[in-house]
């Protein structure tokens, strides 16, 4: 591996992961006040309705696809009798659909942020870093799905996926990425940058999905005196 390869396929992932973990801990401890989704629905609702639903439902599908294609080894799907072709077409059709929804949502949201005065006024500097990274990552991902899936077929589950998993087992196999097509290389590299800035952007709201709400008593009471009294129901 060349020096550049080592940088992109070994060093960058670890730098990113460090920034990701330490950044989150730092932000949460230092600054709970800014830990928010920063909704802009008060200022504009029509475009948000389309953009937000498309983006969020799309991203949930895309995350599912990445778990299937990146985190789950080839051998496991083979073992339960999923043929290569079946996987391939599921990835393209389902993944492609989720990706199209996601891209549509992202484009609407970025358009809204740029073109609607009120939204632009509430745009933070961190947004000007985060949104381009997010948009480029998504568009490169779409290229991977359609170019790498249909035009010039490439089995990333033999290279990109094991490389990604190897990072977390602390045995980074950077050489697997050296010969991957450029769109895959670009997609993962921009994605690492996105993860590196993640803790410093509004994306932290992802970790605040209010699951506790499902189990909580409706009315929350807080007492000055030590423990909170139990709620009414």
């Amino acid at each position: 591996m060349s020096r550049a390869d080592t940088f992109f396929w070994v060093l960058l992932p670890y730098v990113t992961l460090t920034s990701f973990v330490v950044g989150h801990v730092w932000r949460y401890r230092r600054d709970g006040f800014t830990w928010t989704a920063r909704s802009t629905q008060l200022l504009e609702r029509r475009l948000l309705l389309v953009g937000s639903y498309a983006f969020h439902l799309g991203i949930l599908g895309v995350i599912g696809g990445h778990i299937l294609g990146i985190l789950i080894p080839n051998g496991w799907t083979d073992a339960i009798g999923v043929s290569h072709d079946l996987y391939h077409w599921v990835a393209i059709v389902a993944g492609g659909a989720a990706g199209v929804l996601l891209s549509l949502g992202a484009i609407v949201l970025v358009y809204r942020r740029l073109k609607i005065d009120r939204i632009r006024a509430t745009t933070l500097r961190s947004d000007w870093v985060m949104y381009p990274l997010l948009l480029v990552t998504i568009l490169l991902g779409m290229l991977c799905t359609f170019v790498g899936g249909l035009v010039d077929e490439y089995d990333y589950r033999e290279t990109v996926s094991p490389w990604f998993r190897s990072i977390f087992t602390l045995q980074p196999k950077g050489n697997l990425m050296v010969d991957a097509p450029f769109v895959y290389q670009a997609h993962v590299t921009i994605a690492w940058l996105l993860y590196a800035v993640w803790p410093f952007t509004r994306l932290v709201h992802v970790w605040s999905v209010p699951v506790g709400y499902l189990a909580r008593s409706p009315i929350v009471y807080r007492a000055k005196r030590g423990a909170t009294r139990t709620a009414l129901r």
Partner: protein, 524 residues
């Protein structure tokens, strides 16, 4: 029985002159920061009118508060699963235009314009975008029925035949002012709507607050509150609401809106209630039973059994004392002249109103004439417009409690006039409204003489049971952008890439750096 104490408020609408002093002092204290310009924790609406935000009382549209479904109490906007389904987009959230887009004026033009034939004009510009704004709506746009022929018809209280009468009688237009703050409800739907658990009701005094550190911008509280008294700060992305001026209340002082009220219309006091029966009271089948149900929650502070249980539940002696002298308990429970605002929302609101007698009196009397009960009582019964309109607002449509309240107020006027004229008032007058003479005198003293320390009976918070105030010294000012919050940290890390949004409108205040703060998380 589990006894809890709540600081509650009564406003005497008969004495409100609509001067907006409460709104202005509240705004100067709490909402003069970026992102909060459009918020009025206290606002004064002219009724009939659409209100602020527009048509806030129309719960078919906004789905605030609770409803009874299959005998069970549930949020009108749907349960927990629907909250999750609408996290990405809350269909019931008002937009800024339902309130109004806040603006300032381009004052600079006035001083920098070159010499010309005509005077330069300061154009309005949006405080959100900084761009010129074509003003279509604003705070108190419909003050004193301004634009009423166009807008007032949209008042959601004009229903059940009342709208017909209003049209027919418009030459005799009636109006009154309705000052509104957060109701600090016993059964707050905003709290139940908050997915993050950032909203809470304080056990000691019942004040409902938003934890600025825990709010995650899901904005369900804004739509969940039927009174639309939780607002969304578009700059910080957090919900904010009326705090009942808790720093003042804790020190035994009235809220700033009460303190500065020109007409002395506001009363603050302790009410003891049975916390075990809150849900039961909010769940009665008939909406018209909600008022009696809520009244039944309030416990008599003179009852030894209640006092004994209150002590066991940790309520201090000075609070029990204050509860006995509470003007709120007196007006709402003893005299039955104060009524809750929209009890049909089932939140059990704790800011109550003495309905205005003036619209009735002005129709019956004409300026300067005497309030002879023989004229006024039939008038109260016959004047369907104010009575039913008030009933739609204060008693879920039941005219009887409104009638009782107005008759008592009228009787009090007649009674006191006789006394002033040196005549012994006829006890039959008191009996006609079911009151003892001394009760009428006590009510007169409270409503008309209205001494400061009788209007505000606020026991101090027992600081010894909580966090040391020294640790919090200077921790949470509001004199800079973004507060209230983790103030100190905020200055530096509002946005890790820089403190200001890139396209910030130039309000010239910036992130004020001269705030001394002490990080209480470290200090404790």
């Amino acid at each position: 029985m589990q006894v809890r104490a709540q600081i509650a408020m009564v406003m005497n609408l008969d004495k409100c002159i609509g001067c907006h002093t409460c709104s202005v002092t509240c705004k100067n204290v709490w909402t003069n920061r970026r992102g909060t310009e459009y918020m009025w924790f206290n606002d004064v609406e002219t009724k009939p009118g659409v209100g602020y935000p527009k048509q806030w009382e129309n719960q078919e549209r906004w789905k605030g508060g609770w409803e009874l479904k299959g005998g069970k109490l549930r949020l009108k906007a749907g349960g927990r699963l629907r909250k999750f389904a609408t996290l990405f987009f809350n269909p019931e959230l008002p937009t800024l235009d339902d309130y109004y887009e806040p603006w300032t004026y381009d004052y600079e033009t006035l001083t920098t314009a070159p010499t010309s034939k005509h005077q330069p004009v300061a154009q309005p510009e949006s405080q959100v975008t900084g761009r010129p704004l074509d003003l279509q709506w604003g705070p108190n746009w419909e003050d004193d029925l301004a634009g009423a022929p166009e807008h007032a018809r949209l008042d959601p209280n004009l229903r059940d035949g009342v709208e017909e009468q209003v049209r027919l009688e418009y030459e005799k237009a009636f109006m009154f002012y309705l000052p509104r703050i957060c109701e600090h409800c016993l059964n707050p739907s905003c709290v139940a709507s908050c997915p993050s658990g950032a909203m809470y009701k304080r056990v000691e005094d019942g004040i409902v607050l938003v934890d600025q550190e825990q709010c995650r911008s899901w904005r369900m509280c804004v739509s969940g509150c039927p009174y639309k008294k939780v607002y969304f700060n578009w700059s910080t992305g957090k919900a904010e609401k009326c705090t009942l001026c808790y720093p003042r209340i804790e020190a035994g002082q009235p809220t700033i809106c009460s303190e500065t009220c020109v007409g002395k219309i506001r009363y603050l006091g302790v009410v003891l209630y049975d916390a075990d029966r809150v849900q039961e009271a909010a769940s009665v089948a008939d909406e018209k039973d909600l008022l009696p149900a809520q009244l039944s929650l309030f416990l008599d502070p003179d009852d030894p059994e209640v006092r004994e249980q209150a002590r066991r539940d940790g309520i201090a002696e000075d609070w029990l004392d204050a509860a006995r002298r509470s003007p709120v308990y007196a007006l709402a429970v003893k005299h039955r002249v104060a009524l809750p605002l929209h009890p049909e929302y089932r939140t059990l609101p704790m800011v109550w109103y003495v309905p205005p007698l003036s619209p009735v009196m002005s129709l019956v009397e004409g300026p300067g004439s005497e309030a002879d009960p023989d004229d006024v009582f039939p008038a109260i019964d016959e004047l369907r417009i104010p009575i039913e309109y008030l009933a739609n607002m204060l008693t879920a449509g039941d005219p009887e409690p409104v009638r009782v309240s107005l008759r008592r107020l009228a009787a009090m006027r007649g009674w006191t006039r006789e006394k002033n004229l040196g005549v012994d008032p006829d006890p039959a007058l008191a009996a006609a409204v079911g009151m003892e003479p001394r009760e009428i005198d006590a009510m007169f003293r409270l409503l008309a003489v209205a001494k400061y320390d009788e209007r505000y009976v606020i026991p101090q918070t027992h600081g010894e049971i909580g966090l040391s105030p020294y640790a919090r010294q200077g921790a949470c000012g509001l004199d800079f952008e973004g507060g209230p919050g983790s103030c100190g940290a905020l200055e530096k890390a509002k946005d890790p890439f820089g403190a200001e949004p890139l396209a910030a409108p130039g309000d010239g205040r910036g992130g004020g750096s001269n705030v001394a703060f002490l990080d209480f998380r470290k200090a404790t």
